[in-house]
Point group: C2
Chain length 280, copies 2
């Protein structure tokens, strides 16, 4: 029993320091841009994000939000990675204790309600169609905003970034989201980054849906080191071979892009109206 | 409401025939080997797998198993794809109606129990440590074995393949599973294929854990056509960029492989003993 990675903690969970971070920022983390470095003009190889230094080498709590009509894989993808992080306790947090249904009707059951959760070390904010109904949910937005605090990190998946935007935590930060909502981040003061995973200090944002897996592995490397993240990757045999190259708007066939864009239109328009209104 | 892809059904769900299948087998499906063709010596471009012809162009039921100590992502990864397949009804099936916990304690809630489920058109069998306790669960194995029937398909993820082996459905079929269990498939009479996704007629098997997403997209293409599968891929923005190259034993650093292999050893040994005993 105990923790799967218990045996690794001495050699890797406690591994910190500039040498390894330099490796991370020198291109080992494919597809990841470290916003702090490129936007703030600091030397990445000598300036680890703040949360790197404060979350390493100690047990952490990772709270993962679930809500009605979310996209379950925004949550379960990162869960498969983060639940394997050594010395990390996962809390599945609902707005209430009641089970929720994702937008395809999968039942997800919280372990605790928002008002029972202390402020975690890491907060994971998933997206999906249900995000739109929460854009003015004051308790939730306050909970997200409170992560903007020394020693705490925030990780959004897909349109979870819009909730982060509504909470006011994207202002002046590099961030990404699902391709269909990328143009909306500017309304919240974000510096829009068309990348799969963006790390800006203690803020990690990932692109749509399955990008949460890449984001979670990046986060695992940041809080526990590259060796631990690689062990998790091997454990979950994450060596993807998509059967097609249609995963991004730029690579999808035009008729495929047109069909999906058309289907998204009502939701995209609602999100845009909300973003414009809240962004004022 | 209705179905997301309702509007696509005429142009793609009903699309069948040799031309498209020829495209599929000519290399468009990266990483996928069509076992029927290569093992049985038939000409792939002129012999669609049986279930292709029988499951296309009509509504289907996809049953997805959940059980104690499974790996949730073996189920939720494919769910994110298959719940988007047009004209497909998903049933989350438990051994009983009771919620189960995955091996990292995520609660999953069945919609129906095994004895309430009619035989589905497609059955998805996930894996994870909890598979080992079910290797002689007669009702479950009978349910899996009954999928070996004209017009029904079986899709295993990770060590769900071992359950399929115990059910006797891998004999003479090309199949794959998680890298740590690949050597055990032979005990069940399978032709072991070290590939990410293997299609052998009406049997689709995928490698470890996250390979279920690739397998599900392949299955979606087989039952609804390439265009629909590409729309799903774009919707879930599945254009993975793993931050490391440690997802397979061949590409992982040696110390990473050694650590994960050591952690798996007790489970691997238990699985091997079971496979030897049942395989006799």
């Amino acid at each position: 029993m105990k923790h799967d990675y218990q045996s690794m903690k001495e050699e890797s969970a406690l591994k910190t320091g500039r040498r390894e971070f330099a490796r991370l920022t020198m291109g080992t983390l494919a597809g990841v841009t470290l916003g702090q470095a490129s936007v703030r003009g600091e030397a990445a190889a000598t300036t680890p994000p703040r949360f790197l230094t404060s979350l390493r080498g100690r047990p952490i709590t990772i709270a993962m939000l679930v809500f009605e009509r979310m996209d379950q894989i925004d949550f379960t993808g990162p869960f498969s990675v983060l639940a394997r992080v050594p010395e990390a306790r996962i809390q599945v947090v609902g707005l209430t204790n009641a089970p929720v249904r994702d937008h395809k009707r999968l039942i997800l059951t919280p372990q605790i309600a928002l008002n029972e959760a202390g402020q975690p070390d890491v907060l994971v904010v998933p997206g999906g169609p249900g995000q739109e109904a929460l854009m003015e949910h004051r308790d939730l937005l306050d909970f997200i905003a409170a992560q903007q605090h020394e020693g705490r990190a925030l990780f959004s998946v897909c349109t979870g970034a819009l909730l982060c935007g509504a909470a006011g935590v994207l202002r002046g930060r590099r961030a990404t989201t699902h391709w269909s909502a990328l143009s909306l981040l500017g309304h919240f003061g974000a510096i829009t980054a068309k990348e799969r995973v963006v790390v800006d200090g203690d803020l990690v944002t990932s692109a749509g849906v399955t990008a949460g897996i890449d984001g979670a592995l990046t986060l695992a490397a940041l809080v526990r080191g590259e060796n631990v993240a690689q062990q998790i990757q091997l454990d979950i045999q994450y060596a993807p071979e998509p059967p097609f190259q249609a995963g991004n708007p730029e690579t999808a066939p035009p008729d495929v892009l047109a069909a999906v864009t058309a289907r998204y239109r009502p939701l995209t328009e609602a999100r845009a109206a909300t973003a414009r209104r809240l962004g004022k």
